[in-house]
């Protein structure tokens, strides 16, 4: 029988995601996963549609160029560009980690920040090129 006088430590039943403060490599890691999922759902079908229409005929090629003029399309392209760039540079970091390059804590934190900064800067350049 349960004794009400015994205080049972309340264990959390759910993770409070907003209370979790990830270290920088953890942020890069979860963004690698998120960007990968986004690219699977959106970029792969879009990329194939682009390849298809860009090679089909002169008309469909020019249609694509026209559609890229829409601000909404530009915004989607920018989001996908960031997904790709983050995934690309975070992925290179993982390949280097496999080769035991940059595995000590200060270096891995530095390179994680570098992944975020470099993909951020290149995304800005894409934005400049788009607008």
């Amino acid at each position: 029988m349960s004794n009400p006088s015994v205080s049972v430590k309340k264990r959390p039943k759910h993770l409070e995601l907003w209370k979790i403060r990830l270290p920088v490599p953890g942020i890069v890691s979860i963004l690698h996963r998120v960007s990968g999922a986004v690219m699977f759902l959106v970029l792969i079908p879009l990329l194939l549609t682009l390849l298809d229409n860009s090679l089909a005929s002169q008309e469909s090629f020019e249609d694509l160029r026209f559609q890229l003029g829409s601000p909404l399309v530009k915004l989607v392209v920018l989001g996908l560009a960031w997904s790709f760039l983050h995934h690309f540079f975070a992925g290179i970091r993982y390949l280097l980690l496999d080769l035991h390059i940059g595995i000590d804590l200060p270096t891995t934190r530095l390179w994680s920040k570098a992944v975020l900064v470099v993909s951020g800067i290149l995304t800005l350049l894409v934005a400049v090129a788009l607008w």
């Binding site: 996963r33 690219m39 699977f40 194939l48 390849l51 298809d52 860009s54 002169q58 690309f88 290179i92």
Partner: protein, 115 residues
Amino acid sequence: MVNRVLVGAHYGLRDWLMQRVTAVVMLVVTLVFAAFFLTHPSLQFEDWQGFFSYQAVRVLTLLFFLSLFLHAWVGVRDILMDYIQPVGIRLTLQVAVIVALVSYALWTVSILWRV
């Protein structure tokens, strides 16, 4: 004492390696295409179609997309295994992902070798 050997499906190392090999293939082809786009700032249809008239470019593009689909399979399957616990739903989603990726592969071939 019983030496119990817990055996898994043995796909761990193979998938780990596949994820890296496909990543390197995509890295190389991405650099080739980046070089093409940077040297053709205002790309015209003739240049683009001309580029894909080379068999080597088609093969390289197909290699890229097949690597992409294998890479996506390993990645998405890992995500589903982590977050979708009911076996039935997970299996259904995994099958849906396979069907989508195989369809994409066929689509890619049909685009590149269009009659």
